[in-house]
Amino acid sequence: MDENKENSEELENTDKLSEEEKDKVGEILESLKDNSDKTTGVQDWEGLVNTTADEEEIIDEETVFGDVPEESEFEDEDEDEEIPEDELCILCGERRRYTEIDENYMYCKVCREKMRKTHMNFWGVLSFIAVFVVCFIGAAYGYVSFSIGGPVFKGDGYFKKGNYTSAINSYVKAEETLSTVNEQFDAEILDLGIKTKEKIIKSYIANDNLGMISNYVDSFSSLNDLDKRKVSDAMKYVDLYNDIMETDESFSREFNDVFNKVYSSNGKMTVDDIKDTIKKIDTMKKDKKYNSAVLSYYEYLLCTMVTGGEEYQEKYLLELKKAGTEYSFIYSSTLCGFYLTQGKYEQAEKECKEALERNPENLSAYQYLMISARRQKKYGIAIGIAEEVTKLANKIYTPTTTDSEGNKIKMSALPDSIPMETAICYALKNDMKSALTAIEEAYSINQQSNDTLNIYMMLHYLAHVDKNATAKDGEKVDTVDGGYDNALYNLENLAMYYSQYFYISDNIQAIMDGEKTLEDVFVNGEVEW
């Protein structure tokens, strides 16, 4: 209460103005009323306020702008000096520009310090967060894409070098990785794409294997025109494949009965019996709806099943060859086999060399060369070719796989047929030891091949089984390593389930029974091996 009294007394004292002050206030009020010179009035009023107000009432810049350096630091030396307008800071408009650092500098020291502490732009920070998230997604997606892209790039490299078998193996590896990724995500998150599929198709074509493109044909059926142009090379083969399939269907509809009749006649029919059919097929060939090359192949097939058809076989096969190298998947091995049967070894070898020119990694072509040499009794040359092929196979890219125990295994590109062929040649040279070593290699590569099992069984029988001795139950026994018994057991077991593919060859049985010699079968006999 006392404090209040004292305060009111103080207010009364301060309210009492001197005469001079009263005159001044009167002048100001008049000027305000007049309203003609507002600015002067306000300035004067401010001046009045400044003379009466406490210094504490002046707003401190520090409370507004935060941690700003002390005013005195940047104040002009002479505070009273009026700053020309063109020297004022363009930001605050109060202080002199900080021209010491640059004569054209637009800001004062205080504003400069404030600019140093400018907060980050909100949109900038937001974009940083968004880009960080997108980068993370992009990197993860890129990594997965690259894991599939790696083998694809590798395949492309082989393709450019003309190593088509390696290229195919590489692309197959990419497909395996793709299915693993899709399995992991339980969805089809990635696709090989039409461009990769085009490369796969081209590799198969170069590898004389148009038939293998069937898995990829569907991907091309629903493409738009732009995409079709992108993969025009593949489209050519896809169209060809569809064309072949349509012709095949039409042929089956039209000639299935005739074909079955000729097949079941077991060579009792003659060329004259199928002349009408051949004529009909020839007429069909003139229709552009059908693929004439494929029809030539069917004519060849019909001729192989009748007596006296040999002279026509070559004609139709050559027609097929003339149609283009894209048909090499049909004619290449067929022509080789035909010439070998006919004893035209030079022509057979020419065909093989042409196939090797198209794809130097075509191992089947090497096998035909070996057969040709073997049938000419040039066993040394055949074995030499096998050695060359083994070296080549080691250079062919094969993807690593993992076995049941999780160990990484590098698969060999060498097919079992090459060491099997070597084994036959050694056997013909009477070098049974080397023959057994070679067939053991073939057996280690593929234990489920009818040919290899037959030769394995035969060679072990010839080398290890005492023809005169019999076991208690009357069966022959391989007393050395049990190779014959094992092979026989495997073959019989497989034949039980897959009788179409697994059987004991009559010729092999004849050799084991002593009815035929090795030369009878492998040099002079039909081209079965």
């Binding site: 900038g124 894409s145 892209g149 696709d191 991907s219 995409d227």
Partner: protein, 172 residues
Amino acid sequence: MKVLQIITKILTFPGAFYRGFWEQFFCKIYNLPVENKKYFQMNEMCGHVEHEPLSKPSNSFWFCFLSGLMVFLAGVLMLVAPVINLFVFGIQEQVFKVLNYCLLYLGLSMMTNIFPSVEDALMMWEGYHKLGKAAKIIFAPGAFFMYVGAYAESFGITFFTNLICAAIVVFM
């Protein structure tokens, strides 16, 4: 020139914002006063941050280089998947095509904004000439690339080159 640059920046706004962010970030690192932190201004500073020049020549180089590098790296990370999937594989699955197109756009918007502003490039170039002989040799490719790139960007050339890249990835 200004109009082209502004259009480019608007069309590639994700990259422009990201570039602006890194420029401002490096302003903080070098304790530089930022005169205007608005990234989208309708002038030649569009997509950049207006700041005081750096005093040390090497810092001027690193300022331009590092902010560009960060944008470039983001662009690379975004572009790996679409380039593989669209250009190398030629994927057909619609959902993934859209995802890849989005990544391609974002990646190329980053790549369009890897260069500094002409003002920064001039400062950097000026600073480069003040460097020692050995430093000049080391910094030469980067400095020249950024200097030329900054002008290319101001004429909208980077936008067109990236547009061509996009066309190659999508249509080839």
